[in-house]
C-alpha cells in the first residue's frame, strides 16, 4: 500500500500478437530463434535441400578442403561433410528433445507431487533425488551405455534417467513457494480436488521455470549425447552424427579442418541458441501473473 507504483498495462487482454512480439524480441534472441528454425527445417527436410547422400564414399577424394562441389570439404572416407552435418541435424534435435521433454514431464509430476502432497511422497522422491545426485552421473552413463552395447536410443534412455533429478528439486522448490500462497488455500477451502490444485493451479504458475529447465536440459543433453558419440558410444558406426564426426575427423584436422570444426560449431550454436531462448522466455514470463505493486 505504501510504495509508489509503476502501473502496468491495464488492458484486459494478453499483449500477444505476432507484431508486438516481433517488436519486443532483442536481436540476439532473434538470431538464436533463426538458428533453431534453420536447424529444425534441416532436420525435417534436409535431404531435399542438400540432396547429396551423407554416406556415399569417394575414396579418391578423401579429406578434401572446401570446394564448389563439397562446401565444407570431405571426410576421412570422402563423404560430403555438409551432407553429414545436415543429416546429423535429425539426431541432434530428436534425442535432446526426448530427454528434455521426459525431464519436463517427470519433474513436474514428481516435483509438484512431492511439494504439494508432502509426507511420505516427498520423503521418498527427495531421497531418490539425493541418491541420483550423489552418483557420478556421466561416468555411470558411460558404463551403462557401453555395457548395454551402445547405440543412440540406448544413450537417450539412460540420459533420460540421469537428467531428471536436478529438475525435480528445482520444480519442488518452486511449487513449495506457490503452495504457501493464499490462492492455494482458497482453493482448498472451496474443496477443489488435490490433482486439480496441483496441475491446474500450481503447474501453470511454475511453467516459466519448467520452460527454462527444458532449454537447459536440451542443451546439456545435446552436449552429453555428442560426448557419448565422440567416445563411440552414442551412435551406430558410420551414422551421420555430429559427435562422432568430431572424433572421426580429428585425424584430418590439418587437411580439412572443417570436417571437425563444422560439427563442433553446429553443436555450440544449437546449444547456445536454445539456452538463450530458454533464458529469455523465463525472464519474460516469470513475472507474468505476478503483480507490480
Amino acid at each position: 500500500m505504501a510504495t509508489a507504483t509503476i502501473t502496468t498495462v491495464r488492458s484486459g487482454k494478453l499483449p500477444w500478437s505476432i507484431a508486438s512480439l516481433a517488436r519486443s524480441v532483442p536481436i540476439s534472441i532473434g538470431l538464436a530463434l533463426f538458428v533453431i528454425g534453420v536447424l529444425l527445417v534441416l532436420a525435417a527436410v534436409g535431404q531435399w535441400i542438400w540432396p547429396v547422400s551423407p554416406s556415399a564414399q569417394h575414396l579418391l577424394n578423401v579429406a578434401a578442403p572446401p570446394g564448389s562441389e563439397n562446401w565444407l570439404g570431405t571426410d576421412t572416407l570422402g563423404r560430403d561433410v555438409t551432407a553429414r552435418i545436415v543429416a546429423g541435424c535429425q539426431s541432434a534435435v530428436i534425442g535432446p528433445f526426448i530427454i528434455s521433454a521426459s525431464g519436463l514431464v517427470l519433474s513436474s509430476v514428481l516435483g509438484i507431487g512431492a511439494a504439494y502432497l508432502g509426507g511420505a511422497v516427498d520423503t521418498i522422491t527427495m531421497r531418490f533425488v539425493d541418491f541420483m545426485l550423489a552418483l557420478p552421473g556421466l561416468l555411470i552413463v558411460i558404463v551403462i551405455v557401453s555395457l548395454g552395447g551402445g547405440g543412440y536410443w540406448m544413450a537417450i534412455l539412460v540420459l533420460c534417467l540421469f537428467n531428471v533429478q536436478g529438475d525435480i528439486r528445482i520444480v519442488r522448490g518452486a511449487a513449495l513457494d506457490q503452495k504457501s500462497l493464499p490462492y492455494i488455500e482458497a482453493a482448498r477451502v472451496l474443496g477443489i480436488p488435490r490433482w486439480r490444485i496441483m496441475f491446474r493451479h500450481i503447474l501453470p504458475n511454475v511453467s516459466a521455470i519448467l520452460v527454462a529447465n527444458l532449454a537447459i536440459d536440451f542443451a546439456l543433453a545435446l552436449v552429453a549425447l555428442s560426448g557419448l558419440a565422440f567416445l563411440g558410444l552414442g551412435s551406430q558406426p558410420g551414422a551421420p552424427e555430429w559427435g562422432s564426426m568430431l572424433s572421426d575427423n580429428e585425424t584430418i584436422l590439418f587437411s580439412n579442418p572443417y570436417g571437425a570444426l563444422a560439427p563442433a560449431a553446429a553443436i555450440v550454436l544449437l546449444a547456445l541458441s536454445v539456452n538463450l531462448v530458454g533464458d529469455w522466455i523465463y525472464d519474460r514470463y516469470a513475472g507474468r501473473g505476478r503483480f507490480v505493486r
Binding site: M1, A2, T3, A4, T5, I6, T7, T8, V9, R10, S11, G12, L14, L181, P182, Y183, E185, A186, A187, R188, V189, L190, G191, I192, R196, R200, H201, P204, N205, R288, G289, R290, F291, R293
Partner: protein, 616 residues
C-alpha cells in the same frame, strides 16, 4: 520565491519513470515546504507517489525513475546539484529517512546496538567503540527501551514495535534536523502504532526537529501533524492545517477520504464512498486529477489541470470550490450523523464453537497455544466481529472454521454438521457449502493465471451447477459484487485491489453459503476502496441474509458491520457483547487499551486539541 526560513522546500517537482520504451508520470508539479520544528503530513493512497517523493528528497530513487524538473532545496541548498559524495554528507546527518517495514529495515545479522553505533561513529565525533556503545544504549533509553541488553540482541528477537524504535534510534543517530518517516506505523498493531506515533511526537518536540510523516491514513496524520498535504495521482490537491482539513475540507477528494474512514465511536446509516479506483497520473493528464471520481465534476474541471489556489490562507486545487463549498460543508456534517445500533437478533446458531483449542507443536517440546478454549457462536443472519491484534489467534480460529487447520481440542459445528470428524483429515464437504472464506490479501488469493470466469466456473462446477447455466451464473455473481459481467475474461493482474477482492467475494459466494468467514478483508485495500468493499459487505448481507464472522483489527470497521463482537487477547476471549456496549463501555483492561490507541475518532480529536494547546 524562495523563503530562507524553510528547512525543506520543494518547488514544481516532476518525477517520472523512463523505462524500456515506456514512460510514466509519477509526480507532477509538487510544491511543498517544511519549516524548522514543524511536523508535516503527506497523505495519499497507493500510487499517489508519496514514497517516491520521500526518496526524491533523499536522492535514493530506484533505477529508471528520474527527476524531470523542479527543485529540492534543503536549507537553501539545491540537493540535486550536489555530487554523490556531498549528498552522502547530508544523508543521515542532516536529513534521514525511516521506512515502513520494521521487519526488513534492520539487518538480521547485526546486533541492534550496531545499527546505531554505525551511524554514531560515521559522524564527525570519532567516538571510540565503547563510548559509541554507551551512547547507543542511551539513545535506546531515550526512545523508551530502558533495558540495556536490547542493544546486544538481534532484530529478529524483538517485536515489531521494538524494532521500529531501534530503527528510529538508528535513523536519529547523527542528530538530523529533518526526519522523513514513510508509513512508520502501518505495519504495526493498533496499540503499538499509537506508541510509535506518540514517540515520534515526543522526540520531535524534545529535539526540535522537523518531521515529514507519510501515511495513507488521514486520521493518523491529524493526530500528530501541524499541516497536511493531500496527495493524489502524483499531485497535491489540498494543503491545510490538520484542524482546518478535518473541520472543513476544501477539496472533494479530502472530503471523500474523510468519509471513507468510518468513525469508531458510532455507526453510520450510509457510508459515502468515492467511486472508482485510484487513478494513475498518466490517466488524468490535462484535467483535474480527481475528476473521473468526483461527484461535482463539470466541463470546466476537464479543461485544465488546476493548480493549487489560495483560499482563506489555505490551498486547494479544486476549480469549482466557490460553487461547491456549501455542498462540501453539508457533506462534512453528514459524517457526524449517528445511526441507531443494529438490533441484536436471537436466532439459532449457525456456527457454534465450543472450547476450541489449537496448539502448534514446536521444537523440543515447546508448543505454542494459539487458541485457548475459545467459545463463540454466530446466529443465522447475524454478523459477529472478532477483534484482536496479530498473534491473538483470530486467524487460527478462522482457519479452523473452514478446515485449513484441525483443532487440537474442542468442537466446531456449522449448520448442524461437525466440521471435523474424529478420524478424518479433511473437513466434512457439506460444511463447505455453508461456510466460505474471504481472505485478507486479494493480490495473492486469486490464481494469477486464471481468468475471472475460469476461477468462478471451476467452483460452480464443483458445487454442481449445470454446464449450460454456468455462464449466466458467472455474470450474475459478478453483478452481485458490483463488477460488470465483461470482467469475466480478465486476468487478476489487470484488476485493481478492490476489484480483486470483489472477485474473491464472488468466488466465495459460488457455493451459496450461509456464512462468510472474512479474515481482514479490507486491510490490504486503499482507504477509498475499503469503504466501497465495506458497503458491498453490508449490501450482500441485506440481500442474501448472510451471516458474517468478521475478523479484523480495525474497531471502526467492526462498528459499521457487526452486531456482536468478541475481543480476543493471546488466544482467549476477554470480552464479548453487543458492539456498542463493548466499544463504548469496555470492561476488560485490554479492550480499553485497544480503544484508547485508535488514531482520530472521538478520543483522537481530544488528544489533538490537547497537543495544540500545549504547543500554544
Amino acid at each position: 520565491m524562495y523563503r530562507i526560513d524553510n528547512l525543506l522546500e520543494i518547488r514544481d517537482l516532476d518525477v517520472h519513470y523512463a523505462g524500456r520504451g515506456a514512460s510514466h508520470r509519477i509526480l507532477t508539479g509538487v510544491t511543498l515546504e517544511v519549516r524548522p520544528g514543524e511536523t508535516v503530513g503527506i497523505v495519499g493512497e497507493s500510487g499517489s507517489g508519496k514514497s517516491i517523493l520521500a526518496k526524491t528528497v533523499m536522492r535514493l530513487l530506484p533505477p529508471g525513475v528520474e527527476i524531470g524538473g523542479g527543485s529540492v532545496r534543503y536549507k537553501g541548498i539545491e540537493l540535486q546539484s550536489l555530487g554523490e559524495r556531498e549528498m552522502r554528507r547530508y544523508r543521515g546527518a542532516q536529513l534521514t529517512l525511516m521506512f515502513q517495514d520494521p521487519f526488513t529495515m534492520l539487518s538480521p545479522l547485526l546486533r541492534c546496538g550496531f545499527h546505531i553505533t554505525e551511524g554514531l561513529r560515521a559522524g564527525s565525533g570519532r567516538l571510540s567503540r565503547r563510548a559509541a556503545w554507551r551512547e547507543a544504549v542511551a539513545r535506546l533509553a531515550e526512545l523508551g527501551i530502558k533495558d540495556p541488553d536490547v542493544a546486544y540482541r538481534y532484530p529478529f528477537q524483538l517485536s515489531g514495535g521494538m524494532r521500529q524504535r531501534v530503527a528510529l534510534a538508528a535513523a536519529l543517530a547523527r542528530d538530523p534536523e529533518l526526519l522523513i518517516a514513510d508509513e512508520p506505523s502501518t505495519a504495526l498493531d493498533v496499540t503499538t502504532q499509537a506508541e510509535i506515533l506518540n514517540l515520534l511526537q515526543t522526540i520531535q518536540r524534545s529535539r526540535r526537529m522537523s518531521v515529514v510523516l507519510i501515511t495513507h491514513d488521514l486520521r493518523v496524520a491529524f493526530t500528530i501533524c501541524d499541516r497536511v498535504y493531500v496527495l493524489y495521482a502524483g499531485a497535491v490537491l489540498e494543503v491545510g492545517s490538520s484542524a482546518e482539513l478535518d473541520s472543513e475540507p476544501l477539496h472533494p477528494y479530502t472530503l471523500g477520504l474523510l468519509q471513507s474512514e468510518p468513525p469508531v465511536d458510532r455507526r453510520l446509516q450510509v457510508l459515502r464512498v468515492i467511486q472508482g479506483n485510484v487513478a494513475s497520473p498518466d490517466e488524468v493528464v490535462g484535467k483535474c486529477r480527481f475528476s473521473p471520481r468526483c461527484r461535482w465534476v463539470q466541463p470546466e474541471c476537464l479543461a485544465i489541470d488546476p493548480p493549487l489556489a489560495l483560499i482563506d490562507g489555505r490551498q486547494s486545487a479544486c476549480v469549482r470550490l466557490n460553487d461547491i463549498r456549501s455542498d462540501l460543508r453539508r457533506e462534512r456534517a453528514l459524517i457526524e450523523q449517528r445511526a441507531a445500533p443494529l438490533a441484536i437478533r436471537t436466532e439459532e446458531a449457525i456456527v457454534s464453537v465450543v472450547e476450541l483449542t489449537k496448539i502448534f507443536p514446536g521444537r523440543r517440546g515447546r508448543s505454542v497455544t494459539a487458541v485457548d478454549k475459545v467459545s463463540l457462536s454466530v446466529g443465522r443472519g447475524e454478523s459477529v466481529g472478532l477483534v484482536g491484534e496479530s498473534g491473538s489467534g483470530k486467524t487460527t480460529i478462522a482457519r479452523c472454521l473452514v478446515g485449513l487447520e484441525k483443532p487440537s481440542l474442542g468442537a466446531i459445528r456449522i449448520g448442524g454438521y461437525n466440521v471435523f470428524h474424529e478420524s478424518e483429515r479433511s473437513i466434512d464437504p457439506r460444511v463447505r457449502r455453508i461456510a466460505q472464506m474471504v481472505f485478507q490479501d486479494p493480490y495473492s488469493s486469486l490464481d494469477p493465471r486464471q481468468t475471472v470466469s475460469a476461477a468462478l466456473s471451476e467452483c460452480l462446477r464443483l458445487f454442481g451447477v449445470r454446464r449450460s447455466a454456468i455462464n449466466d451464473r458467472v455474470a450474475e455473481l459478478l453483478t452481485q459484487v458490483g463488477l460488470p459481467p465483461e470482467y469475466a475474461h480478465r486476468l487478476p493482474t489487470t484488476l485493481s485491489g478492490g476489484e480483486r477482492q470483489r472477485v474473491a467475494i464472488a468466488r466465495a459466494l459460488t457455493s451459496e453459503p450461509k456464512v462468510l468467514v472474512c479474515d481482514e478483508p479490507l486491510s490490504a485495500l486503499d482507504v477509498s476502496v475499503q469503504a466501497q468493499v465495506l458497503t458491498l459487505f453490508r449490501e450482500l448481507r441485506a440481500r442474501l441474509n448472510l451471516s458474517y464472522l468478521f475478523i479484523t483489527h480495525d474497531l471502526a470497521v467492526v462498528r459499521q458491520i457487526v452486531e456482536r463482537v468478541y475481543v480476543l487477547y493471546r488466544g482467549q476471549v476477554v470480552e464479548e457483547g453487543p458492539v456498542d456496549q463493548v466499544l463504548d463501555a469496555p470492561r476488560h483492561e485490554y479492550t480499553k487499551r485497544l480503544i484508547a490507541s485508535i488514531p482520530g475518532g472521538a478520543r483522537g480529536h481530544d488528544l489533538n486539541q490537547e497537543v495544540r494547546q500545549i504547543r500554544g
